[in-house]
Symmetry: C2
Subunit: 240 residues, 2 copies
């Protein structure tokens, strides 16, 4: 019955302050006190303290005696912490976060595809081909919502099949980027044929265990993102 995701008091406070810091509403050097937080959110000192400890462990604040809780500079943040990523993705940090994540995708996904070609299970190999075909079908029929789901599943599968748990840990984030990009209208209304081909190329290479080809195909799929990332003016960038 509680508001989505805010199971306990901590989450509410954490969410609020985490957002404020990552969105820049609280600037580095600003200080809070536990009492401040208690009053503002109507929570006990215990809750305030435990929340601060979590924020501290994410690198968003430091806590010192007599001085209070100090907001840290962005350089100290655990920028790979999923919550930090989410917060930055829907606040002021969105722009740099999207750029960073896209660049990270360009770095990681080709290697993940390569690793998947070596390490994927039999089921994963058949599934990746299925998903490639499914994307073609949905894409050609213009069923964008379903197409997006398949796209997310495709990239998630490869990251997980890579056998590298650090790659796999990026799956949720990549999904968020794909979805967020569509929401923002950065995608063409109908997937371009090249994108469909590219996905099927990757799928075939992975299924066949050809790691080098899978890597190259994924790199082709991600396209010339270097140029695409600078000007978001043309509606034709299809860098999934």
């Amino acid at each position: 019955m509680s508001r989505a995701g805010f199971e306990n008091r901590h989450d509410a406070v954490l969410e609020a302050i985490g957002r404020e810091i990552t969105h820049g509403d609280l600037a580095p050097g600003d200080t809070l006190t536990l009492e401040h937080i208690q009053n503002r959110f109507g929570v006990s000192r215990t809750v305030a303290r435990e929340t601060m400890r979590i924020l501290e462990s994410m690198g968003l604040v430091t806590s010192r005696r007599r001085v209070g809780i100090t907001v840290q500079d962005a350089a100290a943040w655990n920028v790979f912490d999923p919550r930090v990523i989410w917060w930055r993705l829907d606040g002021n940090g969105r722009d740099t976060q999207l750029r960073s994540l896209t660049e990270l995708r360009v770095a990681v996904e080709p290697l993940a595809a390569s690793a998947a070609a070596r390490n994927a299970s039999a089921e994963q190999r058949t599934r990746v081909v299925e998903l490639g075909a499914r994307m073609r079908g949905l894409g050609e029929r213009g069923l964008l919502a379903d197409f997006l789901d398949a796209d997310v599943a495709f990239h998630t599968l490869l990251l997980e099949a890579s056998g590298n748990e650090m790659f796999a840990a990026l799956a949720d984030v990549v999904a968020a980027v794909l979805r967020g990009r569509t929401q923002l209208g950065l995608m063409p209304r109908q997937p371009v044929p090249e994108a469909l081909d590219a996905h099927e190329n990757v799928a075939r290479a992975v299924a066949a265990g050809q790691d080098r080809r899978a890597e190259d195909a994924m790199r082709a799929l991600l396209g010339e993102v270097r140029e695409a990332m600078v000007p978001p003016d043309t509606g034709q960038l299809s860098l999934d």
Copy 2:
């Protein structure tokens, strides 16, 4: 005066339990209770609770009423959390962690070099060339300790100069891999000339702002890690 790093009670408990989980001494599904922790470490309930909150925020445990604190499966861990990485790097997880990180380096560093060629400041450009030259001097004279320091500085600089804060956040980890690898005797006693050339190639490309060349040079520098990662038998892999 306190023992390195264990400033407060939390850190001691966190360190101990975090290690036990990431090292596999505590298996997924195992449960603890706060009382258990209080007794074992002689700390108050508050400290036990706050420590658990941090572990929970790292995905290492979940806490449920009536059931206690349950150790999570590795799939739920925040594998990018620096502390999780450190712990895995000096325990049972070392092997998979080193492989994962090396694969991550191969993915990220070429793109970081490319980005650095585009975004580095004037000072950073001159410094990267200096470091390349310094590595040659030290390498040829066989001053391994200093060479390693310069090597770490070189890779750190590029990651930071990339302008991508997620790349920059990996600097400490890359440094740990470089140092750890040397400690483990995985490096040749004298840097091979190819490695020295490779570093200077990267440095020159970055300094000249040639992103494509910097990317390729870094990829060459990292070498054919795919093969090198499988058998650690030959002492000749120089994949920095």
